[in-house]
């Protein structure tokens, strides 16, 4: 959340997904067959052609990867217009993409990539090691606000050995290749001469992008659509020319209109469909829902500097007063699962024996009673030493979170606790909760996680006072566990540590963990073989094709 996901790239965190889930990653339902033709019977040779129309609420602002700010933009850059050095296969292992191979020096201080020699920019120039070096240099340049720079923190220098070989020096760390699966390589020959401070305004980003990916840029009508066409020269061993002739992304800033377009066939895919449409999609034989897990949990942070929330038994009671199963159903229409703690079920280290705290309002009331919170004056709200159990629950303008706040208010009222929901503008809220004074009583937001669960910024004793240590949490035993996680190279050891971390946090309940999100795209009857998984919906775009009647 401190990384408001609308604004920062979530590619890094997104890939935190685990091999465990990968098999079951794509939960797209069986394709509809009512159009009279069974899609599985269409021979591959007949799958070529047509224009697929995607639409979403948000605009894709730029194709310049240095300035990417949101999830959909990241995907179009990494999977459509450009290529990354490496990409994840469907088991979360890095596989060759622009780099055809790589080698790591014995002391892990050097990585050498050998690039493909047949990859060309769409203007004809070859893609070489110099493009990679250029991209790396810009990413490391502090004058550029590249959102995922932290993935390259340990990467120190670069050396171009020849046109297609490049060597990096780095400090060894876990999952070190990750950054290269998320960073699209930018064309040096177009952008090199532009001063860093003018890069953002270079027309490359908005009107003249040149990529090297499976699709070429055709047109950008700002506020309306981006159009891409198949790149016939895309290397055959990477899949070759995509099936689709054209791929269009439209902005339709209003859910009702967007859904009406999907239903009438004007749009083939509603990217990240609003949960409220889940039932309507299920009832419509023409439409399908493709859901995939997303490493993002919603939570309520309790400020222990307030009299109510210092006691962990009270925090646990508050969690138990909330019917999280109902909440997920009402707010997400099933697109989510109640959370146990900071380690979600998408993570490979998740312990399937974990259970969320039960929904038990009566026990919750009893715990509060024992903790000294009693409704003495009979107004329905508990007090202790003259202090009413009444606090402000702040959240941002998101309709979804507004709804959660309303629900929480209702649940807590039933155990004699008064939550007063308050909507704050996102930036103002962020500045309040990250300030050292912690200007909040309780807040409700969501948190998108990383590949490596190194979350010391959030919980470590020595980070108290730093922006992300929202609830001033401190537990030396936990600190020891968290310090070991990034150092563990062995998966079994890491699994044990991460489980310990998850258990300790869940017991202390510094947050109430509400639910882990699932995302979903809604598909019309034409578009086939869309199988979104932890990599996002566009990772497989090359294989999408249109069923023609």
């Amino acid at each position: 959340m401190s990384r408001p996901e609308a604004r920062t790239s979530s590619l890094v965190r997104r890939t935190a997904l685990a091999a465990a889930l990968l098999g079951a990653g794509a939960c797209a339902e069986q394709p509809a067959v009512e159009s009279g033709r069974d899609p599985t019977s269409v021979p591959v040779a007949e799958r070529y052609g047509g224009t697929a129309i995607l639409a979403g609420l948000g605009e894709i602002q730029t194709m310049n990867a240095f300035f990417s700010r949101d999830y959909v933009t990241d995907q179009f850059q990494a999977y459509v217009l450009f290529t990354t050095l490496l990409r994840y296969d469907d088991r979360l292992q890095p596989e060759p993409y622009l780099a055809r191979s790589w080698s790591v020096s014995p002391d892990s201080n050097e990585v050498t990539f050998r690039l493909r020699t047949d990859m060309r920019w769409h203007d004809g120039a070859p893609t070489t090691a110099r493009d990679v070096a250029f991209t790396f240099d810009r990413v490391k340049d502090p004058a550029l606000p590249y959102p995922n720079r932290s993935a390259f923190d340990a990467w120190e220098s670069v050396e171009v050995l020849d046109d297609y070989t490049i060597r990096f020096t780095l400090r060894p760390h876990a999952d070190f290749l990750h950054g290269w699966t998320a960073l699209p390589i930018m064309p040096r020959h177009i952008l090199e001469d532009t001063p860093v401070e003018d890069l953002a305004s270079h027309p490359f980003g908005t009107s003249q992008p040149v990529g090297n990916g499976p699709f070429r840029f055709v047109e950008h009508l700002p506020g309306d659509r981006w159009t891409f066409e198949a790149n016939p020269d895309f290397p055959p061993d990477l899949g070759g020319r995509p099936f689709l002739d054209r791929l269009v992304y439209r902005v339709i800033p209003n859910e009702t209109t967007l859904f009406a377009e999907l239903r009438s066939g004007g749009v083939d895919m509603y990217v990240r469909v609003a949960p409220v449409f889940v039932e309507q999609i299920a009832e419509d034989p023409e439409l399908r829902l493709a859901a995939y897990p997303f490493p993002n949990y919603s939570f309520i942070a309790w400020n222990p500097r307030r009299p109510f929330f210092a006691d962990r038994t009270v925090r646990r009671a508050l969690t138990m007063a909330l019917d999280r199963l109902e909440l997920v159903e009402v707010v997400r229409h099933g697109l989510g699962t109640p959370a146990v703690g900071p380690v979600g079920s998408w993570h490979w280290a998740y312990d399937s024996a974990w259970r969320p705290l039960p929904y038990a309002p009566d026990s919750a009331a009893a715990i509060l009673e024992r903790a000294g919170w009693r409704d003495v004056d009979g107004d329905g709200i508990r007090e202790r030493n003259g202090v009413r159990f009444s606090f402000e629950l702040v959240t941002n303008e998101s309709r979804e979170r507004g709804a959660i706040a309303e629900l929480v208010q209702g649940y807590l009222a039933r155990v004699g606790v008064e939550a007063r929901p308050r909507i704050r503008e996102h930036q103002a809220l962020i500045s309040d909760v990250t300030s050292p004074e912690r200007r909040f009583e309780a807040f409700l937001l969501s948190w998108t996680q990383g590949m490596v669960l190194d979350e010391r910024d959030q919980w470590a004793c020595d980070r108290i006072g730093k922006p992300l240590q929202f609830v001033s949490f401190c537990d030396p035993a936990l600190d020891a566990v968290m310090d070991s996680i990034p150092r563990a190279t062995d998966r079994a050891v890491q699994r044990h540590l991460i489980r310990r971390y998850g258990t300790l946090i869940a017991e202390a309940q510094p947050f109430t963990f509400l639910y882990v999100e699932k995302r979903a795209d809604a598909l019309g009857p034409r578009l086939q073989d869309v199988a979104p998984d932890f990599r996002g919906e566009l990772a497989g775009v090359r294989n999408w094709w249109l069923l023609r009647p």
């Binding site: 310049n64 239903r263 004007g266 930036q427």
Partner: protein, 325 residues
């Protein structure tokens, strides 16, 4: 007439200056620092400082004001952080779409409004008069976005035969670039139908009420009675004499309805995904993209001033008495 035009133009200058002042003041009064809107853990303080410089936020208020004043008259509105391109480009893309939508709506407002109003006056107190009065009041009283969404659901309904369906979002079809010129025109026209209707229909209801009143007044005048007495056919009396005179005061409504249209375009452009100024303004506000907010607010003001000017001049043309006022 030339002198009148010149006078009116001169009168517009202080208003334009006022518009700049008000726009700057408005944004200056807003709490919060626009530069912090680009909150991102990886954005260094230097970058935020540069954004502030870019926005002129580090300058004293009067210098900021002069800066804006200059940019408003040179057309250089600065740089949009949200869209990664100059604001002038943002405007250049959005303005024509809004102008086309407003122009078509305006046409609809006046043609439909006047036709209905005149008809009501001619058939005063008939069932037709009462029914249309009720219907137009009903439409006038509907929230615009609600009407727009109903139109969208109706005209995109799979239950509707293909020929009756209309485009519900955007300006052109996806295959626009492959169309012949005539097809392109038709395509654009079809995309305009629903948004211009949703944008203009409430105002058309308003115009019809004025028109009804104006027409009734004209119909009670002596010269109409004379014309009738001369034995002219009723249609000729109405079309040639009454209608023409009733239309004169309606011209002055132009200045009244254009601001309504521009305001309504914010909602209608969001509903119908129309890439115009209203949506640019709305998106910019959500993204705290202040340069775009200022440029759009300013331009809406200028457009209204301009529209009023045109309305006044038109009125002076059709009713020469006004010029001596």
């Amino acid at each position: 007439m030339i002198r009148y035009t010149a006078r009116r133009l001169l009168e517009a200058v202080p208003i334009l200056l006022g518009i700049v002042t008000l726009t700057v003041l408005l944004l200056h009064l807003a709490p919060g620092d626009p530069a912090t809107a680009y909150f991102n853990p990886n954005v260094s303080p230097e970058i935020i400082e540069r954004m502030r410089e870019n926005l002129g936020l580090n300058l004293p208020l009067h210098e900021q004001y002069l800066r804006w004043l200059r940019s408003f008259f040179t057309g250089d509105f600065g740089y949009s952080f949200g869209q990664h391109r100059p604001v002038a480009q943002v405007i250049a893309d959005a303005l024509p779409n809004t102008l086309v939508l407003s122009a078509v709506s305006l046409l609809l407002i006046f043609v439909l409004g006047c036709a209905v109003g005149a008809l009501q006056a001619v058939r005063q107190y008939s069932a037709l008069d009462i029914a249309t009065t009720f219907v137009s009041l009903f439409i006038y009283s509907m929230p615009g976005f609600w009407l727009g969404l109903m139109l969208i659901l109706l005209f995109s309904s799979p239950a509707l035969p293909e020929v009756l369906r209309l485009p519900i979002s955007g300006v052109t079809s996806i295959d626009y670039e492959f169309m012949a010129p005539a097809q392109r025109l038709l395509d654009r026209a079809r995309h305009l139908v629903l948004p211009s209707f949703a944008l203009g229909i409430a105002s058309a209801a308003g115009v019809s009420r004025y028109m009804r009143g104006a027409m009734l007044e004209v119909l009670s005048q002596d010269y109409i009675r004379t014309a009738r007495a001369k034995g002219l056919p009723e249609t000729a009396v109405i079309l040639r004499h009454a209608l023409r005179n009733a239309l004169i005061p309606i011209v002055s409504l132009l200045g009244l309805y254009l601001p309504l249209l521009f305001g309504g375009s914010i909602v209608i452009e969001v509903v119908f995904s129309w890439p115009g100024m209203g949506r640019a303004l709305y998106n910019a506000i959500l993204a705290r993209d202040y340069p775009v907010v200022m440029a759009c607010t300013f331009l809406f003001g200028v457009l209204v001033v301009f529209a009023n000017l045109v309305a006044d001049l038109l009125y002076a043309v059709v009713d020469p008495r006004i010029r001596t006022d």
